[in-house]
């Protein structure tokens, strides 16, 4: 588990061009200080996910909205408990419960 996130290198950029990575822009401060509002990140939809990883997930109640949070726990049934690094500014699994595997978009692998 790493609290850090690498900066994208040329390999990540090539993978973005090849559409093996998807870029998103962060909005909000729930992952501060690691990720600030306006930071761009790359998501790998195929990467395996472990506790401590940062992931992108579909919001369980707001259609079309995607959340960026850290995996605090993975249950034996494969459900993810997600939290923000900055809990005071975060609505996460403490409020909306665990997220199903199907709602995980991918792992945040680096920032641009």
């Amino acid at each position: 588990m790493s609290r850090d996130l690498p900066v994208a290198g040329w390999k990540d950029q090539v993978l973005l061009i090849l559409r093996r990575r998807t870029a998103f822009v962060v909005d909000g401060e729930s992952m501060s200080p690691l990720l600030k509002s306006g930071d761009k990140i790359l998501v790998d939809p195929r990467a395996s996910i472990a506790v401590g990883d940062i992931v992108l997930a579909h919001h369980p109640y707001t259609q079309g909205s995607k959340l960026i949070k850290r995996v605090a726990e993975i249950s034996t049934s494969g459900e993810y408990f997600l939290t923000g690094d900055n809990p005071e500014y975060s609505t996460d699994s403490r409020t909306f419960g665990k997220i199903h595997t199907a709602d995980i978009v991918g792992k945040v692998v680096c920032k641009l």
Binding site: I17, G28, L112
Partner: protein, 155 residues
Amino acid sequence: MLNKITEKLTRNIETAEAHCDGPCGVYDPSSARIAAEAALSMTKKILDLKAPDSSDSQAWVAFHNTMARYIAIKEEQAQVAKDELLILWTDYFKPAHLEKYPNLHDTFWKAAKLCSSVKVEVSREHADELMDAVKEIHGIFWATKDRDVAWYTAA
């Protein structure tokens, strides 16, 4: 070259939301306190308002008008207090707070019930109890933020 392509590919991209549902972190029990205090003030005014001694119609019109205004404000402010408490309860407080304050749900539930009582009745006792409940919530709220904020009232 690679950087230029990356920049172009990341110009209009989707948002990854990293925020809370409400106005981020801006919670304060003082808004509930102001409304509860206004409801208490109106309760006192209703109880103190004297009916006219005479049968003068103008005096009775003025009495009913004043009474109606006091009642309307009491009803409105008791509801505002309830809404503000419910926002704190459901949006600010998290399960971690409940572990530290196991009577949290009971405190909010009773406070919300008191708002309803103050709204429906003209009870000085319940209006005072609501202020006590808001004071207790004020103490818990600021303790969760490790801040020593003294309780105060406007009156």
